[in-house]
Subunit: 331 residues, 2 copies
């Protein structure tokens, strides 16, 4: 299995701290804690092979939700992760620049497929790369690179058969920063994640949009029936529910502000993030992480940057109060 550290592993947390009496408050991911309500699922969605016409409806709904062109090539997968696993097949052995620090699986997956991977701190350092990968807004610091710069870079890369991969895993909370409206341009490949914003990471659903050559290749690598029937139905319902999405953006923005206020009041320095998570710095971050873990609250450490912690959003007043209480205990 993957050697990249991730949030969300409650079994590992229990192995370290035991099972908390009040249950885990898992703030170690960027998953919305106010999930889209799973609609009733027609039994045939479980029983039959996933149906082509329903998959087509899902892809049309996703394009509309992401403001992509109606004819933009798009493919659905059982989670964005498996697309990240397959992307290196599009450019075997390429020189790849990953704009970091960022989500660790990008570098790991390219390296596992014999790419030459350079982790770079700015796009200026990526000039020699055939493939450039970035997360926008970035995880964990929320850095946003403007669309104009991204589209110019995609054009440059396309001119030499290269590829710009823009992982928009958290773009629902910064929709104006998305380049999905340009999907289909040569040299540009966009990843969208369903589970984070909709709070349904367990269903595994993600999309890639891009030029026909790349999207067709990904679809062939995934094969038929890659997305489960229930995920197709839930995806259609959620991605077409603009009212819920608009209201949720406002709620997440308010919750992120409240979290930032709480953390800064407890001596953390804000280091960015998105409305789905906040990155903070604290000289005693490792001790805070352990203290929270003992209180049943899981947050995300960064082994190579020990002063940083990433906090997901508490989903309700009770969870905010519980976090505040744990932060108030002297170490």
């Amino acid at each position: 299995m993957s050697m990249v550290p991730h949030g969300g592993d409650l079994a590992a947390a229990e192995a370290r701290w035991g099972r908390p009496a009040k249950g885990w408050l898992d703030l170690s991911t960027g998953i919305n804690p106010m999930p889209y309500p799973v609609p009733a699922i027609d039994p045939t969605a479980w029983q039959r092979l996933p149906q082509h016409d329903r998959l087509r409806a899902l892809l049309e709904t996703a394009r509309a939700c992401y403001a992509a062109p109606a004819d933009a090539p798009i493919v659905a997968a059982p989670g964005t992760q498996i697309l990240i696993q397959l992307l290196p097949r599009l450019r075997p052995g390429a020189r790849v620049a990953i704009l970091g620090p960022t989500y660790g699986e990008h570098a790991a997956c390219w390296a596992a497929e014999s790419a030459t991977v350079a982790n770079v701190g700015s796009l200026d350092e990526a000039a020699a790369a055939e493939v450039v990968v970035l997360v926008n807004p970035n995880n964990p610091d929320g850095r946003i690179i403007g669309s104009e710069r991204l589209l110019a870079l995609a054009s440059d890369l396309a001119a030499r058969a290269g590829l710009l991969v823009v992982d928009e895993a958290f773009a629902e909370v910064t929709p104006r920063g998305s380049v999905a409206s340009e999907a289909g341009r040569p040299g540009l490949l966009i990843l969208r994640s369903f589970g984070k914003f909709f709070g349904l990471a367990g269903i595994r659903l993600g999309f890639a949009l891009g030029a026909a050559a790349e999207i067709d290749r990904l679809a062939r690598l995934l094969g038929p029936w890659a997305v489960p029937g229930p995920a197709i139905e839930i995806g259609i319902a959620a991605l077409s529910d603009q009212g819920w999405q608009d209201e949720m953006r406002a709620r997440l923005s308010a919750a992120a502000d409240r979290l930032t206020d709480l953390l800064t009041a407890h001596g953390f320095a804000d280091r960015g993030g998105t409305d789905l998570f906040r990155l903070v710095e604290h000289p005693e971050a490792a001790r805070v992480w352990d203290r929270l873990g003992r209180a049943g609250i899981l947050v995300r450490p960064f082994p190579d940057r020990p002063a940083l912690l990433r906090f997901g959003l508490p989903g309700n007043d009770g969870d905010f109060v519980r976090l505040a209480a744990a932060l108030s205990v002297e170490p």
Copy 2:
């Protein structure tokens, strides 16, 4: 998408024949029409990333259900199809013999990854191959190759770094023919499909069992969180429900006998199959297929063997009566 013809595509059937007033009776797949009842799913299974400890529980349950050794390397995937897509990565560019005619995706997936594929009619013709692929019992004719012969072949192949792939997609209805009890031997890789026997093809769940080198590689290619949380929970419930499985084997056997009797009474010659589908021959098979389609009953034709049809099982008395009535109409 895949160019291999498959059953189960109701949208394509409606494009040809229109939507039937009574709804489709889909007999075009080998999926059990008496599905395992989907248990209530804890909301956290939808919301959280799939948990490692629940995945481990699923893998242990699957090993026990398949009578595999408790330490046999095993990996779960979102459907067997994606494992079939990935298998060629285990032996790049190999000379592959596929024992056919059989499920079309095996040959297509190896060919797509630059393997040299030979479709052979008997194992004697596979002597020069580095990889041998077969489905046991075979789809569509139900041919079973004995375990002793398979294990000897796996040993031969292992001695020259080759691989025997045994796709046991329908082995639940012929459990004594399975080689899963030998999983872990070098040279032997076994595929198991969840959705067919349990009648839940929409959830997408499959397994590979084999030697550590191959299973670890497949797990790395799939990446973390490949199986959705709800599929993990449903899989644990169904694979551990021995009572349901035993009763279902008896019910499927009775239904398959009833189907065979009905088809032979209408002039079809039985050409094999399993307790999940029957293969039959009829000089007017193409006209029967069209007549059934117009009556809203979808069965599986074979474009390159036009006298054959494959019938899945009707799931209840009403569907048997409907099929009998449609077969009784003069063409």
